[in-house]
Symmetry: C2
Subunit: 549 residues, 2 copies
């Protein structure tokens, strides 16, 4: 293992090389990011998904530190879970650490060693030396990492875009990235999120011009803007345009209050104190003098915007003098939810502006031309595309090859892969445990697939429980059969239940109840009921025969 660098990709579900990446050399391991993923419709009732960290648990003594690229949930949401296993220092920029601290407090972790690092400075951790490099993204305080390892330099872009006219103090430090490239980079891991998109993503600043136009058009109306709480630069622009047009601003939604509070404290969000009012006070302010900034741009069921649209948010009543600006594109899978919110807002007589971002395409991730720039500056020997589904990684590989990178110096990985890198070679050498941990409620549980399969089955066809009491001594039926069903439909439930009882009785009559093992009785009842119900109702509910003695 000597003189060999291992790169290990952990993660929840979906994107590869996103939530958590480990670098190991000899007896030293550093962890980059500790995030979580969000469930898809195949995971009913699951709140979020954590990476399997068995490998971290088994190598506790090697772990030297955790480095965070930025404060989004998919990069910091699993931090408390990792820190419960390994008490190591955490390094990040100011806003990232403020947001991480909020999360840790929720999980009652008060002893974390959080170390604030500024871009263009270094941290030593074991045999690794990590330099922080400022990049633009849809949250303030984002960084890329240049990691000096015994075999050479690794460059990780993190989530990034290039913005020549950024809002706030963040910028993509192209001069430094160029220097790093000139010095020589052995391996690059780069963001593939927007690899399907041609051209450049527009500067965050272009959104400001659109806001200005919308605030002029709606000068007599109340304006409500829904956006991501973590997009501090967007919030800054809404504050600025509100100030210009003489409006106060109220924030609404738990995450919105958390983030604006943190960002204000560290100076990432700048405004005069009297600009911001409490949401409880907005009823006393004229419509044209107030901007309300809320969560819910994705139509999330419990968010402020969804509740306002449904008329169940008691602090704000939506009416015909309201203009709602949805300042975020729908994440694939959320379209129906957000469109349902928009329909409801229209029904309340409000105006809704929700496609402004289609015109000025602003994203937090590099498109194809920006990606080409980074490849050209960094010129890595080896390249691993990360942050994307399989199709994104393949397309990023194709893009790198179109720039002259040789195919054998590019690796496509999956969650759980271990890659070994030497000065002159890079190869997959194996895997580590990589199942994901599904979290439901507040507990962390390793839900197995049977539970999910059962949930899906019942949600589609319902469940029928048949309870029968049998005297073990003489095999007589002492009680039931009784039938309980849920989520199962029938035109005449009472008569249908009665007919099910008869089917069960008929099955039992043909069996040696005294001697036959319970499980065989259950199997016979299940089989006959399944056939009967499918024949009658063309439906296959879950059937649970239950025998009491």
């Amino acid at each position: 293992m000597k003189n060999k660098l291992k790169v290990i990709f952990l993660g929840g579900i979906g994107e590869i090389g996103k939530n958590m990446t480990l670098f190991e050399y000899g007896n030293d391991i550093i962890i980059v990011d500790a995030g979580m993923s969000f469930p898809n419709e195949e995971l009913p009732g699951i709140d979020y998904v954590l990476p399997d960290i068995t490998y971290i648990k088994e190598n506790k003594e090697k772990i030297k530190a955790i480095f965070l690229t930025h404060g989004h949930e998919d990069h910091i949401g699993g931090l408390s879970y990792v820190l419960k296993e390994v008490k190591v220092p955490v390094y990040g920029t100011k806003l990232t650490l403020m947001l991480a601290e909020n999360k840790l407090r929720e999980h009652r972790i008060n002893d974390a060693q959080l170390n604030c690092i500024k871009p263009r400075t270094h941290v030593q951790a074991g045999c690794f030396d990590i330099e922080f490099i400022s990049v633009c993204h849809s949250i303030a305080g984002s960084v890329a990492f240049s990691i000096k390892t015994p075999v050479g330099f690794v460059f990780m872009t993190g989530d990034y875009k290039i913005d020549y006219t950024p809002i706030g103090d963040d910028f993509t430090d192209l001069p430094r990235i160029a220097e790093i490239g000139r010095r020589g980079v052995l391996l690059m891991l780069a963001d593939s999120t927007n690899i399907e998109r041609e051209g450049y993503t527009m500067s965050e600043r272009t959104v400001g011009a659109t806001f200005d136009e919308l605030f002029t058009l709606n000068s007599e109306r109340r304006i409500i803007v829904a956006t991501f709480a973590s997009n501090v630069h967007r919030l800054q622009q809404i504050l600025d345009v509100s100030k210009k047009y003489g409006r106060k601003v109220a924030f609404s939604g738990r995450s919105m209050l958390n983030v604006t509070d943190a960002a204000t404290k560290i100076g990432a969000l700048k405004y005069e104190k009297n600009m911001v009012v409490d949401i409880d006070k907005i009823s006393s302010i004229e419509d044209k003098k107030i901007t309300l900034i809320s969560t819910g741009s994705q139509g999330e069921p419990m968010s402020v915007l969804t509740r306002m649209a449904a008329g169940s948010f008691n602090k704000v009543n939506i009416g015909s003098n309201d203009t709602i600006i949805i300042s975020a594109s729908p994440i694939p899978g959320n379209e129906r939810m957000i469109y349902s919110v928009i329909n409801n807002l229209y029904k309340k007589g409000a105006e809704v502006v929700y496609n402004m971002l289609e015109k000025v395409h602003v994203s937090g991730h590099a498109c194809q031309e920006e990606t080409k720039l980074i490849h050209t500056l960094v010129k890595p020997k080896f390249f691993i595309p990360v942050h994307g589904e399989y199709r994104h990684l393949i397309q990023h590989k194709n893009l790198a090859m179109s720039l002259g990178q040789s195919e054998r110096n590019i690796l496509i990985t999956e969650i759980g892969n271990v890659v070994e890198v030497e000065r002159n070679s890079m190869k997959k050498i194996g895997t580590v445990p990589s199942g994901s941990l599904l979290v439901d409620g507040l507990g962390i549980e390793d839900i197995d697939s049977i539970v999910l399969r059962d949930r899906k089955h019942i949600s589609e066809d319902g469940i029928i429980v048949a309870v029968i009491g049998i005297n073990e001594d003489n095999g007589e039926i002492t009680a039931g059969p009784e039938i309980i069903s849920r989520g199962f439909m029938s035109k005449e439930p009472d008569s249908f239940n009665e007919s099910i009882k008869q089917v069960v009785l008929h099955t039992l009559t043909g069996l040696e109840l005294k001697t036959l093992p319970r499980k065989d009785i259950q199997a016979a009842v299940r089989k006959d009921l399944r056939n009967y119900i499918f024949k009658k109702a063309k439906s296959s509910p879950m059937i649970l025969p239950f025998i009491m003695s």
Copy 2:
């Protein structure tokens, strides 16, 4: 009611004025379209949704005929269900009737009176006179209707786009529409589907150029195209480009075979007989000599493309010499499914082309400029936007007003609304029953919301059944408590079940089991269990206490 026309909007869920519209005058009713809708994620296990046709059942003797605009499921999918109630003639164009006949055969309706009508000809039905007008759409044989009623002319666009260079014999008959407009239209009902999109949708023919380019680029490879079976014009273009490049074509997927069979018979799809081969024969044909056309462009779970991607379609093995062209945009809500199919295809080493339609934006529905043209030609006195969610209707209303239509001559309706139209007025006068019928399996059932709520509850948190046997005479516990759970997780199910039993026993100990009504015992058990489980697992499964005597 004399001299008053009633327009009644029936439908399943979602879009308004889409699935079914009734026109009533005196003792005559005609039905335009008899479609169904598809369920969203709020309706687990539901296959499709039919309109409530109580009003049709209650007015059977008035119904004179059914007119079909085109052969898509959302316009013909409920036909068999309506024809079971009213035996009236059905009028449509050739392809529409062929597809309708296929559906009727599935439902064993063999006595339908299907009448084939050509564009620019008329049908009399009661006091109504209906003219068929050719329009372009994403299926061949689409028509608009000009309906002469005793109060004036009604113009219904149906689903349409404008295409100056159409494929096949269909064209949007603008000269005739202009004449109809000049004659005077009292009321127009017009398609709002693409009202959010600026400009024009491109001609279907532009897709042909893209296919040509892709076939050139992939001249040595096997080409698989996934598209909608009903898009006969698209199929024609794939056949044409295949012929040009010396490829045979195989069709795959049940609906693909049904539609191509029908379209070939009536001459809507034109090709030399020996061009098309059976899918079973393609293994004997060189990759570069074959095009496979399949269903599954939306990632539908049972479709051919999904099965090929998963390696479970035994007739075709996907490999590195395959190029798969997905020739359809994802319908909102289907993105995750189709992307998962694309990832799987890439993992098998194939090339996938799936964003070609983003470049040449081709849709079957009119965009803003086309919609303006129709409004300008038809110049209706009254206007009702249809075919869209609430937000689309509002935006279509705004567009009509921007063209000079007065706001009081425009009505926004909802499913179930009854609109009364006279020569000089239009107003909503009430509603008819409009709940939707949810269909699960083959039966039509009126599933109530409790069933769906239960399914959703169980799918998110699972279910726990506690069975207890109680002697009614003396109140003694004779059996159990026994616990069954499904879809509920716990790290240690056995010990957790044991602790649940203890909670139930503890609850029972405190009750007067001899005298207390069963339902009070159940309520007490449910309450204590719910609190215990929430405290322990932060989860709220459905709890069903069940008492046997």
